[in-house]
């Protein structure tokens, strides 16, 4: 009797306490809140019933989207959506708003789409683009078929107004690009001119950055922007934080539903792009369930609940070779995907010890990159024997801009412990006091290598770097702080060795990447978010970097890049640990098929069917019979 009374009183108390917490149940809640005590009894009866099979068969229900009309994603959206506003920097709305070099164009669209396989720009809202001589004006003609979701046409005024808003309200993109683009002018309804910012000699400051804007930044409707401005009283902060739930865009998909657990988009059957592609994209719904972590996402992918996965899956080949699942990646064998970036370890060249290029080079030579690629990346990267080192990524577009033969003497493939030791010995850096660690000026060479906690493949790579250090007599300890502390260290040069991504595949690359490795301007920043975190300064390299954006001759460019690579490999201000895809791309063909493959001749990049030119894949999908 007392037992029951106690239980009851405990329940009532807790119930009272929880009532006071609440300021609004979410949609998910009401069905849970009813009858907590009765649920306790119910669950003891319904232990482990097979209800999953029944759920999957639900079709055309108000509460679900039909499986064969929905394309499921994972690995892009973590956490809840904040807004639908391309002017804000906190949208956390990966599927709809990702303004990067391969911009995601399923909801909002850009003028052109970048294809990392051939480095070209393909028309979307824009039709053609051309520079004038001297590269001071970029003229873009718009696609006459382009329309907004409210059926009004996309005009040059929309493009111009979008740029003006970015600039006026000092959005992140606006603040950046207004240094390179002076203004965007609508010549007539269908022609836009991007006027480059000129320096005092009348030369454009950086034409590459002007072109970079084109496949990257979404075009927004002028009428809608004016509406937003009006309802926020033209206040910059309010406008940037406006949720824009009623947004107007030109893309093939619209928002359908979202909460803490998933995001769902529905196809707009009046999409203008029918004229461009000849048909509508195949999936009627696009859904991204919000998983807590990689493991949950992987489980769902393996069981066929996810069609397109952007997650790093260890030993992904085991899924089809051993488990016989209908899963495949872009390429059937190592490296399984197209690598466009190289996570790099930056040396803080101001630290005593790391200011000596022999020390830097020795560490870089001794690291066992094959081990990194085999264990940390489970072979999803070409090795440095397959694609010898330079500042270029492995794509053919960039490799064509560098002369590999000229770099042979400087390249190293790793695990060269003897060579590293010899290099250090020759430079007079030895271990005098017998503790196993070499010294310079009497001080032991001890360094900390850091990267954010939780990034497992990076954590694993740095462990291997540390192991290499101990083999050659340099003490390297790994340190995995949480992201905030790491950013602090990296951007204010409080590290010894830190790991970060240089820019990947883009219209402005490989220049952007070379800047991130060696630009003197970046080295001088007080709070450095851009690159060259270690503060490496080299006059020759810097001069080359200044010349490149203005150079259009391919052969001269090749010379410049080769020379930059040579300096980079000789001085080793940083070294790449592996190649890595910008986006992981694995597909499960249990419901949909027709995804891009290496030899299918379609030239569609494996960018999860949504980014840049990769969106062409959505039009080729068919259901599996």
């Amino acid at each position: 009797m007392r037992k029951r009374l106690n239980k009851w009183t405990a329940l009532v108390t807790v119930g009272a306490m929880t009532m006071t917490l609440l300021s609004g149940c979410q949609k998910a809640a009401p069905t849970d809140g009813t009858g907590q005590t009765s649920k306790a009894e119910e669950t003891t009866q319904t232990a482990a019933q097979t209800t999953t099979a029944e759920e999957k068969k639900d079709s055309a229900d108000a509460g679900s989207t039909p499986r064969n009309e929905t394309l499921y994603f994972n690995g892009q959206q973590w956490g809840t959506i904040n807004d639908w506003n391309p002017l804000s920097s906190n949208s956390n709305n990966a599927m709809a708003i990702t303004q990067q070099d391969n911009a995601r164009v399923i909801v909002y669209e850009t003028l052109f789409m970048y294809n990392m396989l051939d480095g070209k720009l393909y028309g979307l809202l824009g039709k053609d683009y051309s520079w004038n001589d001297g590269q001071t004006e970029l003229t873009i003609t718009l696609n006459p078929d382009a329309k907004w979701s409210d059926q009004t046409p996309v005009t040059a005024q929309d493009v111009a107004y979008t740029f003006d808003c970015h600039k006026k309200y000092a959005t992140a993109q606006g603040s950046d690009y207004s240094n390179y683009i002076d203004s965007v002018v609508a010549k007539d309804d269908h022609t836009v001119i991007f006027k480059a910012k000129l320096d005092d000699k009348g030369l454009p400051v950086n034409p590459l950055k002007v072109v970079e804007y084109v496949p990257k930044i979404y075009v927004m409707q002028k009428a809608y922007l004016q509406k937003v401005e009006q309802r926020n009283g033209n206040d910059a902060d309010k406008i940037k934080q406006d949720r824009m739930d009623d947004f107007v865009a030109s893309g093939p998909y619209k928002s359908y539903y979202n909460d803490d657990q998933k995001v769902v988009f529905v196809r707009d059957d009046n999409y203008w792009g029918k004229a461009l592609w000849g048909k509508l994209p195949a999936p009627k719904y696009i859904t991204h369930v919000i998983y807590e972590n990689n493991a949950a996402g992987d489980t769902a992918f393996k069981s066929g609940e996810v069609d397109v996965s952007q997650q790093f899956i260890t030993n992904v080949q085991k899924l089809w070779e051993e488990d016989g699942l209908p899963i495949s990646t872009y390429i059937d064998e190592a490296p399984y995907g197209v690598c466009a970036t190289m996570p790099t370890a930056f040396f803080n060249v101001e630290k005593p010890g790391l200011d000596r290029k022999e020390v830097r080079k020795a560490i870089a030579m001794a690291v066992d990159y094959d081990q990194i690629i085999a264990s940390a990346m489970s072979n999803q990267s070409p090795s440095f024997k397959d694609v010898p080192r330079s500042i270029m990524n492995p794509t053919s577009g960039e490799q064509a801009l560098v002369n590999q033969d000229a770099l042979k003497d400087y390249q190293f493939t790793g695990n060269d412990v003897e060579g590293a030791k010899a290099l250090l010995d020759k430079a007079g850096i030895v271990d005098k006091d017998g503790d196993g660690i070499r010294e310079i000026d009497g001080k032991n060479l001890n360094f900390k290598a850091e990267c954010p906690d939780g990034w497992t493949d990076w954590n694993a790579s740095l462990e291997i770097v540390a192991a290499a250090g101990s083999k050659i007599g340099i003490g390297i300890e790994t340190y995995f702080p949480d992201a905030n502390t790491f950013y602090d260290d990296m951007t204010t040069r409080k590290f010894d060795i830190c790991m970060w991504n240089p820019p990947a595949a883009s219209v402005a690359n490989p220049w952007g990447r070379a800047m991130a490795f060696m630009s003197t301007d970046y080295a001088g920043l007080k709070v450095n978010w851009t690159g060259n975190y270690g503060g490496y300064i080299n006059e020759d390299a810097n001069n080359l970097l200044k010349k490149i954006p203005l150079e259009t001759n391919k052969d001269t460019l090749k010379e410049y890049y080769t020379e930059l690579s040579r300096i980079y490999l000789d001085e080793v201000p940083s070294f790449s640990l592996m190649y890595r895809p910008m986006l992981f791309h694995a597909v499960n063909e249990s419901v949909w098929t027709g995804f891009p493959q290496l030899d299918d001749g379609d030239n569609i990049p494996p960018t999860d069917c949504t980014d840049g030119y990769g969106i062409a894949a959505l039009y080729n999908l068919v259901n599996v019979k």
């Binding site: 085991k318 089809w320 264990s375 906690d453 291997i464 063909e589």
Partner: protein
């Protein structure tokens, strides 16, 4: 005292727990003496190698072969082409080569393969097949081609001066080698983890570290809990209320905030093993305090205590001689439980990434963390995480058994 100790070992529960625990301790002490490999050495290039014996292929090839007349001549195809693969081939031939099922016999591998070789074309459209399936057939075709090649394996040698390659040795399919003759071998009883480290060696080292953390944390927690509980329970009044207040404070503040705070305040050094042990100890003493306090409260009014008070003994002496011995048994049990929960707490913290941040030692929690990060539990690589779970459970279980056993000794009512 001696009698009590003898009684302790008579208790079956305690003995069992003690044996398990002692076995683990002995393992951690003696194993590294026998197997001297560095537990953190990344031996395997790649992740999660299965448990087994790995022998050097190049040496095996050069070791004395023995000829065994086992099934040598009858088809490798029969042995290597599974029924599932043959059914798949038959399906393909049916669908795309227009062959009816009467023309094909899946039990005859040779016949099926020759039909396959005649009709299979990987570049053909294969309408209706998903890409993954097409790739499957492509791989199958490569496998069949490999099987059809010359039975014997040739060992070639490159002449140092001329660069010419010539056949040094032929290895017939009847050639077998005694595994024991091959010198270079490595046994991975529990396979390797995601770094290519030997799981068993690493596990033993990790158990040792985790035990160390558990001991330190448990000792600290028990000491604090005991002292505070004694003072609060005996003295009562406002001191009691104050100590309860402190206890509640510590319960309320989540330990991981304290953990991050303390470890980062000490300096830019990485979170060490000892540091984590300290913090676990500093945040888990609350329940010991409460229990000791309630025990002391009930003891406070006993006759012998009142007698000592009347006799004018000092506070300190009363606590030490009149109260402490009566709760000694309880304290020992509390210590054991604190050790056990300390180990569990470390494992939990490491799992969420707040454990020791150093990479020079391995703990059970860290091993679990890496295994989970690399999805070992989803890939069927059970050796990377299951032994860790079992170890933690065993350590905890043995400690708890010892605790229960002791409970029975000190409280005769509980004996069976």
């Amino acid at each position: 005292m001696k009698n009590q100790i003898r009684q302790i070992f008579h208790s079956p529960k305690f003995t069992v727990g003690f044996i398990i625990f002692a076995a683990l301790l002995v393992l951690t002490i003696f194993y590294p003496l026998i197997v001297t490999n560095d537990p953190l050495e990344m031996v395997g290039q790649g992740n999660f190698f299965k448990p087994g014996t790995y022998i050097s292929v190049s040496e095996a090839v050069n070791t004395n072969p023995y000829t065994l007349n086992i099934n040598a001549s009858s088809s490798r195809l029969e042995q290597n082409l599974s029924m599932e693969e043959r059914m798949a081939m038959a399906d393909w031939l049916n669908q795309f080569a227009g062959l009816s099922s009467k023309e094909m016999d899946v039990t005859d591998a040779g016949g099926l393969v020759s039909l396959w070789k005649d009709h299979y074309d990987s570049a053909s459209e294969q309408k209706g097949l998903i890409a993954a399936r097409k790739k499957y057939f492509s791989r199958l075709d490569k496998k069949i081609t490999g099987l059809l090649e010359d039975r014997d394996v040739l060992l070639a040698e490159k002449n140092q001066e001329t660069g010419e390659v010539s056949v040094k040795k032929t290895i017939p399919s009847t050639s077998y080698v005694n595994v024991k003759d091959v010198g270079s071998r490595r046994v991975f009883i529990l396979g390797t983890d995601n770094f290519g480290r030997d799981v068993l060696t690493e596990l033993v080292a990790a158990i040792k570290t985790s035990l160390k953390i558990g001991f330190i944390a448990g000792l600290i927690a028990t000491t604090i809990g005991l002292s505070l509980g004694l003072i609060a329970g005996y003295l009562g009044g406002i001191i009691d209320d104050f100590i309860l207040f402190i206890t509640n404070l510590f319960t309320v503040i989540p330990s991981f905030i304290l953990l991050i705070l303390i470890s980062y305040s000490i300096g830019k050094n990485a979170r060490g093993v000892i540091m984590v042990a300290f913090i676990i100890g500093l945040t888990s003493w609350t329940w010991t305090t409460r229990s000791v306090r309630s025990q002391v409260i009930s003891l406070r009014n006993r006759d012998h205590v009142n007698l000592s008070k009347l006799s004018g003994h000092s506070l300190f002496r009363i606590i030490l001689t009149d109260i402490l011995p009566y709760i000694a048994s309880y304290v020992v049990m509390a210590l054991i439980l604190q050790i056990s929960s300390g180990i569990l707490a470390e494992a939990q913290l490491s799992m969420i990434g707040l454990g020791p941040a150093t990479t020079t030692v391995s703990t059970l929690g860290l091993m679990m963390n890496w295994a989970m990060s690399y999805s070992a539990h989803l890939n069927g690589d059970w050796w990377a995480y299951f032994p860790v779970i079992i170890s933690i459970a065993l350590i905890s279980f043995s400690l708890n058994l010892m605790n229960t056993g002791l409970d029975q000794i000190f409280n005769p009512q509980l004996r069976e």
